[in-house]
Symmetry: C2
Subunit: 280 residues, 2 copies
């Protein structure tokens, strides 16, 4: 175990952890160095279990014991910093936190992610990291096989996405389309029925669309909460689907709630969980 | 229209709007004065449509026109304050915001809220305002008839709940149990089957429980994300239910995702939305 106490927030060895709430800084720093950040003991453990290689750990004295069993076997440095140093470094109070910086892996290709997959979710331009993380968490928990991201969709390995997903971004296979315009054709060629979720007129209930489908490969397309899917993707879809809603005043569903319900509907009847235990 | 420009954040007429992110201060201030806060043009409009009486409005100059059609007919004062004054007053940048302070109404009783209701959600000790707001939004959109809150559940009219619910807290009838220990007996006497959502062993799939039920009145009990329902409420429930989950590493659902799915499952087959239009 390689424990190093660092008294100075400006120490270069802590550079991975600087200003964690500065989205623009973090985006460039993380892509430049090919790293991502895991926060909290549970999520750090999941990243390690998923085979990600740690660059370093950052602990405050009171969290030093939290990961002791893990970091003992690690060659990556464990930086222990006082709480004031941690706060000056990351930009918020870390007193309950444990952080680790990990190396990214190359994204797998479409072949690898979609081989054997039957129910996938495709996120178009969901730029909110919280929403991306929440959708990964639900999709993973409910048994969706894979996620495909449009080129402009937010990064699942961004700190906020990782945290909200509870680490589901490490376990649920995903990849990213290079080509927004033509990307859906690839999915269709692989036999996926393309279901576009939309509030626009002319949609059918998702359950009805799934019941009427010929094949057993379905790709649910989700757009951003405000604007929904692009007209290009709407045109490319095989069918437009919705979740049944009442119109009490102007109620609508949050995109993460809609995604959870849609994932549930897609796996219903196929679920492996018929045993006598489950998790809400 | 009663427009008043106020140059000083310390002006007593602005007292309803002070330090909106100071949870403890706001809780006591709002309960003492029987008020709540609506934020954003859409939510303010929904509060007015739902019949809540405004105490006052707070607008920055650039938002002055946003509610013009509405405030013209109002006798409540419209305070217009410079952006710096607004920020000093509420504690964050309000440059896109419009605020209004409303008078609370007395909570309706169980009789009023549950008369004719068939599918209700009961929230035990969900203390997170964001989660309460998100659950209201999904429940309202999907067609749940009412919500019942345990005594310690967070306030749906707290600013953050109101905002996250998009104003669904104004339209979905709800009330609060006075008696946590004995409150479920009242629901059972009214003919509701009590379904306790839980990850603990011994649960059945929610869909199976609903299919096997005799009556048509169902109350879904939801506990807090970490600890779940209390043992008292678990004992009082008629059946323990779960959503089908895969166990990929330690995946679980967020309480708001679980609530959305459960609401969807409860209304499935009963939904009024079979028409050719919907909202995701």
């Amino acid at each position: 175990m390689n424990v190093i106490e660092v008294p100075d927030a400006a120490d270069e060895r802590l550079a991975d952890y600087v200003r964690l709430r500065d989205v623009n800084l973090r985006k460039s720093l993380e892509s430049e160095h090919g790293l991502f950040m895991a926060e909290g003991e549970k999520v750090v453990r999941r990243a390690l279990r998923a085979g990600y290689r740690p660059r370093s750990f950052l602990l405050t004295p009171r969290r030093r014991a939290a990961l002791a069993d893990l970091v003992e076997q690690m060659t990556a440095p464990v930086y222990v910093v006082a709480e004031e140093v941690a706060e000056a470094l990351v930009g918020f109070d870390l007193h309950r936190g444990a952080l680790a910086s990990f190396e990214r892996k190359p994204l797998p290709g479409m072949d690898q992610v979609l081989d054997g997959a039957r129910r996938v979710v495709v996120l178009e331009d969901i730029v909110d990291h919280t929403n991306v993380g929440a959708i990964f968490r639900s999709a993973a928990g409910l048994g969706i096989d894979a996620i495909v991201l449009a080129p402009r969709c937010a990064d699942p390995l961004y700190r906020r996405s990782v945290k909200v997903s509870m680490g589901a971004v490490f376990t649920l296979p995903y990849t990213r389309l290079h080509d927004w315009y033509g990307g859906l054709a690839d999915l269709r060629e692989r036999g996926f029925q393309l279901l576009a979720m939309t509030p626009a007129p002319g949609s059918v209930l998702l359950a009805d669309a799934l019941a009427a489908a010929d094949g057993d490969r379905h790709a649910l397309l989700l757009g951003t909460e405000g604007d929904g899917l692009s007209s290009r993707w709407m045109e490319q879809a095989d069918v437009r689907v919705r979740i049944p809603m009442v119109q009490r005043d102007v109620d609508s569903l949050n995109v993460t709630a809609a995604a959870a319900i849609a994932c549930y509907e897609m796996v219903r009847g196929h679920s492996v969980d018929r045993a006598d235990a489950g998790t809400v």
